[in-house]
Point group: C3
Chain length 201, copies 3
């Protein structure tokens, strides 16, 4: 099992937990919590594959993603009261997922011969569309559209990967650098409370 695949599964689990927690907070029942966990974990990659025309999407070709997301959602539902102490760890694993999803999505789009901007957008979609759908289903304006350097971390990593690939950098090295950049920017943004400007400011 490659490192990238291992990180991909870590990210899937972290995203599923974040979705399940959002469902619990909105007083959803067990089914709703599972749906939010699943959608958050696989929504981004699924939308990317729909747009690329790669059917069925990745998680229906390798059901490991589905089983993992369902299992983590059920665990989160069962252990909800004991998860407060894990808040910091979850943010850390979530950042790993963010970085991994961005580089996987961007690289896949380049492989499917998309242009530079298209590939960047696919990377960002892979990392963020699941969380956006989670917030829409929870009837909230998606957090990512309002504050925090979350999407910007993705954007940075995605653009960096496109540039590195364009410059002929070794594939594995380029993926590693880009993913590490996303994770670092995201963790620094949490630590120092960075935020993007708004038009009103």
């Amino acid at each position: 099992m490659s490192l990238l695949y291992a990180l991909d599964l870590v990210g899937t689990a972290a995203f599923a937990a974040s979705g399940a927690l959002a469902g619990i907070r909105r007083k959803m029942d067990l089914f709703g919590v599972m749906v939010l966990g699943l959608v958050t974990a696989i929504g981004g990659g699924t939308l990317r594959d729909l747009l690329l025309g790669d059917n069925p999407p990745f998680c229906f070709k390798n059901e490991t993603y589905l089983y993992l997301a369902v299992a983590v959602s059920l665990l989160t539902f069962a252990l909800y009261r004991h998860m407060n102490s894990m808040r910091q760890s979850l943010l850390f694993f979530d950042a790993i997922g963010l970085g991994t999803f961005v580089v996987i999505g961007t690289e896949k789009a380049l492989y499917f011969k998309l242009g530079l901007l298209g590939a960047v957008i696919m990377g960002v979609i892979t990392a963020t569309a699941g969380g956006i759908t989670r917030d829409v289903l929870a009837n909230q304006i998606p957090l990512i559209l309002r504050k925090e350097i979350y999407a910007s971390a993705c954007l940075t990593g995605s653009i960096l990967l496109v540039l590195l690939v364009h410059a002929g950098t070794d594939r594995s090295l380029a993926l590693l650098i880009a993913a590490a950049t996303v994770i670092a920017v995201r963790l620094l943004a949490i630590r120092f409370n960075w935020a993007l400007p708004r038009a009103q400011d």
Copy 2:
């Protein structure tokens, strides 16, 4: 015309009426009511076909579904004041749609060579994604994620069908048993007010 197709059309009409009623309640205009009727009736099967890569989706191959959904939405709009007495019948027809959509979706996914969990998810998506989209467009947390044994009825039927097919049961019999189970669970849930647990309980 097969029994399954007849039930499919009954379900399509019932789902269109439920979508149109939601649009009327949210004070939408005639166009909005038609959109909600259409989306509720065909949204689930359309998302399933997008995910399976079966383009264009079923309702664009056989436009009967589109004409039926539009006609029922217009009728609901016109006869809105007289429909209160139909509330019980609508719940009954809605349950028929639920059971039919679940087995059609699950079987189609198996035919497209999806795995067991993938097929179950496709069955649930076919039966519920239309109603979820209806509630998102009406700016509400989808009812199905919050309460009632609605999705669970689907889940039960979908898992049952996958198991029956796996066990080599005759196709028509398996479809009939699974659909009847969904309908029975759903009607019993309405009658006895069953609900799934929430994490706070």
Copy 3:
């Protein structure tokens, strides 16, 4: 460059501005404003292409649409305070986009051998799904489902185009008549404050 393509780009820019403005009004950050601008500008055509199975969608084949939508969103973000005086012009350009998107979507659906109602629906989706997604992301009931003759202008033009094509009218002439009808109905609706009936009225 054909006239239709030029109008298509004008409409894309106008839709991007409307999306970016909605994001600014909902206090989104720079990233959120870009997402809403992009989604509003390309969401309708992208959903149409997903449904038709034409992958990847138009804007990933010709990235001009993506660059234009991103650039207009950034400009709108930067010049927000100075755009009040442009309100009337924006409504005008928005109407041009509406008419252009409707005829492009309807014609493409006919080319993909969809039936009459399917083609009409694809035209309406092309012109309205972007704005609907914009409003869902901004956590509001889509404006188009509630009031104004906006969707009806699309519906009129789409049905007219299908009838003209069916009657054997010259392609360019049919497109021109249908697009002009949408634009005229939309501008008259703004001028005279037309609205569709609701069930409660």
